[in-house]
Symmetry: D2
Amino acid sequence: MAKKYDEPVTQIHIKPKMTVGELVNAMGKAGAYNGGALFKAVEIYERMLRDPKATKFFGLAGAMVPAGMGGIVADLISKGHIDVLVSTGANLTHDIVEAIGCRHFHGTAFCNDVELRHDEINRIYDIYLPNEAFEKFEGFIQQIFSELEPESTISICDLLCHIGHRTKKGILHNAMKKSIPVFCPAIQDSMIGLQYWLFSQTNHVVIDSFADMPALMDKCFTAEKSGALLVGGGVPKNFILQSMLMTPNGFNYAIQLTGDRPDLGGLSGATLDEARSWGKITEEAEAITVYGDATITLPILVAAVMERMLHD
Amino acid sequence: MAKKYDEPVTQIHIKPKMTVGELVNAMGKAGAYNGGALFKAVEIYERMLRDPKATKFFGLAGAMVPAGMGGIVADLISKGHIDVLVSTGANLTHDIVEAIGCRHFHGTAFCNDVELRHDEINRIYDIYLPNEAFEKFEGFIQQIFSELEPESTISICDLLCHIGHRTKKGILHNAMKKSIPVFCPAIQDSMIGLQYWLFSQTNHVVIDSFADMPALMDKCFTAEKSGALLVGGGVPKNFILQSMLMTPNGFNYAIQLTGDRPDLGGLSGATLDEARSWGKITEEAEAITVYGDATITLPILVAAVMERMLHD
Amino acid sequence: MAKKYDEPVTQIHIKPKMTVGELVNAMGKAGAYNGGALFKAVEIYERMLRDPKATKFFGLAGAMVPAGMGGIVADLISKGHIDVLVSTGANLTHDIVEAIGCRHFHGTAFCNDVELRHDEINRIYDIYLPNEAFEKFEGFIQQIFSELEPESTISICDLLCHIGHRTKKGILHNAMKKSIPVFCPAIQDSMIGLQYWLFSQTNHVVIDSFADMPALMDKCFTAEKSGALLVGGGVPKNFILQSMLMTPNGFNYAIQLTGDRPDLGGLSGATLDEARSWGKITEEAEAITVYGDATITLPILVAAVMERMLHD
Amino acid sequence: MAKKYDEPVTQIHIKPKMTVGELVNAMGKAGAYNGGALFKAVEIYERMLRDPKATKFFGLAGAMVPAGMGGIVADLISKGHIDVLVSTGANLTHDIVEAIGCRHFHGTAFCNDVELRHDEINRIYDIYLPNEAFEKFEGFIQQIFSELEPESTISICDLLCHIGHRTKKGILHNAMKKSIPVFCPAIQDSMIGLQYWLFSQTNHVVIDSFADMPALMDKCFTAEKSGALLVGGGVPKNFILQSMLMTPNGFNYAIQLTGDRPDLGGLSGATLDEARSWGKITEEAEAITVYGDATITLPILVAAVMERMLHD
């Protein structure tokens, strides 16, 4: 009989003042369920970030910026840990909202939403965003749109880079400074999109859906190796994973942090093994899914990996 | 003390050969949890479909066409029960795949994905799609693309309508026949999009991201009343709900069938009450969420409502 | 290459007035995700109920009786489709509450629980139970306890059978009439248990935790074949499955309807394949899990199987 | 208009070598979803542990000991942070297995369970336990049972304390040393129970289901204040919460770490607000639910609180 199992489970004993990296290592020695998976995610993400040959993709779905996770993403960009970012339009909208000085607020999910409506507060689970933020957002973004050359055609990436030049901080700003492309295939599906529709009522600049895709595909064809950290599912996950389908390559590293479940069939909850059947990730790819809320798993993952890379 | 509760729970007693509508009515008299919510969804969807003033939106996310739910959607279009369809690119891709004669197959989720890769089978949970389907898809769609007028600009809706003319059945075909617009904001994020990238390597037709948005917004501004049936979340849910944000209106009827959960903060799992705070649905809107797999809840919902509407 | 996949997916087309069995058959031809699993559950449950050699176990966890599912269970007992019932104490408490003429009521989960407390209403998600039901319950059950022979020792099964003699309808009553044993290992963990503690303050009758286990184990040892329908997880699921561990047998049929998920490691969400490694179910057992709310899946499952067995 | 929201969201910026407590504080300043809830859980658990008037309950469900969480529970007992433990029988079985020198092992959930069966390995998601552990367990526990006085009657608590005297480490051992009662209402529903059934074939010692309940109820009646940390749901959660129902008291502090969801109606996923309607927790109780895998949330919770209490 071949060896059928690996290391024994080590019971966790908490030591006060443990660093996050130390606690994750203890979770790894326990090794079970999503705690064990989180340790494996740290292992894989560390190897991915240390691999000089790997092009690093980051998928950002879910309402992560309103939840304070935007700072982590912006910092990863600044530190050179993201080469390609794919985001929902909502996260970029809220990134702009914060960058122009508006704030999201702690609220509660157990409330009267009609009263909130009367108070001009928009709710995102237990986070509140006053309407005035969107009013300021409108003024800011319409000003930017008005600077686009009339009758021109522009890619989504370029539009977002343009915005990043005018924000003073945050994801779009840091991406612009590091010349990192930010893809947002469904830009229409966001406040940015609604504002653009408003702008387009009286102006004519074409947003070309496919203008930035050749640059992405070039990256996929030329990448010696590649890795993806996927926060949530949706368009960012699918768009990143499918980008390898037309190439002879596949992702070599893949980590997903998701609260979805595989048995519903949707891509958002699909296992990364499923992605092997398509060739989105390679047969030998190091891949792990951590099920849970990314407002917990993302900070831990990044804190543990940054701790490991401290002395590089 | 005001009346604090409603009808008593009636224990369910199964009668053999019950129709779906009869069983759902029994679930309504039981009235608890998602069984009770499914009954309420039937009530609301019936009123929505019977309301001649209501513009009817349908959001289609999740891998529903590979799961055999495409037939339900195509039939709802044919019967005039959908005025606006918003879909992920994946569902439309698989709709085309079926329309051109390829099939999805029953498989298993407990398999070796590397072996599937070697056998050229792509897996969607427990559904298998052989690669040859995508080869046939490529030939079909490239032919369509090649008929686009060189150097022209086209909207996503028009591109999809163009495809619907060439398919002989299914969602896109029926939508074309009924002149129903199909919106797919993230068209790039699909096999249709990858094929379009390929086409754009040697051809130049611009897909204008925003060209079809005025028509959508017109519908939203002019709708006397409106309702939405949302299958899954993602771009379709958000794009439909946000479309009312720029208008003085909100949805009057809203039903969502989702497997997500609200506490993760993402829009896909958000309650419809949350949508009230934003004004996406009206303060008085009739709205219900049924948590569960739409491969179960969608057929039941539609079967029960069609049964009720049989004698109209 | 061996045949790698099974039947093609058949798109669902709803016909008004479809019976539940017809709709489930259509779900089976679609064959995907939990809709496909529900069809398989119907297939397996039908074979299990038709198998004259099979001893039939039923596990009842979750707040199913307050949700109107108790009627289904009581009817299955009356029809001879359950040989052994294992339940949580809560379901039996609510069965008694209904049997003595009290009712559960339709309420809402979006409420002020402190106000409910002031109104003497106990909430079970969106079901309300007024305190007065527990007052009536107390009078009823203390009367029964008072009839127990002083200084005697009694098994949990016998105590429940004793109660079933005094109720006029419901699960315990029907089980008593059909001489079906009802196991409730954690009887203390329920209102029945709290009332028994009260009784035991001034009386002395010993409830022997293990007195009914030999009868259960005898059934497991002597069963030619066996099957289990598990609604929810918890003690009922584990107690049923573990009962085969001391025998050379294992369950030949197993169906679980659960809203839990496997990746958290708990037994409630564990797959039935996991049960194969332990020998709780046989290597060749027909087994399926349907993920979702049992207030939807249980009525459908039973209605479809009863329809199939109508003409026996 | 009254103030409608609280503090602004502070974007998280990771500093390498952050302690767990520092990271949780950053999650608290972000303040959203389950990351925000985890911070609140730390705040409440700290206040609960520092409250000298509070009797501290701990509920242990889910397969936590095989996952390495037993060490945390055992340490909390040793440090005086648990006054009453309620556990599933499975966790105590695996506690004994580890205490007598057997080990659980890292495995994988993506495996062939029939092969595992042939290899005599029992699987708990991705943890493997060889059969030989249960053989050693049988010898150990039968020896203990054989020392029980013939024809006597014993409570479940006393039986578990008896076992704790013979183990050299772990939960039961530490509880015995600190004279902490361990309740396990469904003792039959575990390997301990199956072994007891075996013992009872040839011996007669009565396990009295209710013998230890008066001691628990006395604690509930006399507790000046009380708090509960609930890991998972099941019998431990319900048994702890219901224990206050017969008293004029309710829990003043309550924290639950669960992967379940409320909309299915089961007690395991029920909100703690629901418990207010019953009076299980007080109207003013500080209470929070953190949704997610306890193999992640429990270590973080305990590490952060221990860090805060370091300098007491």
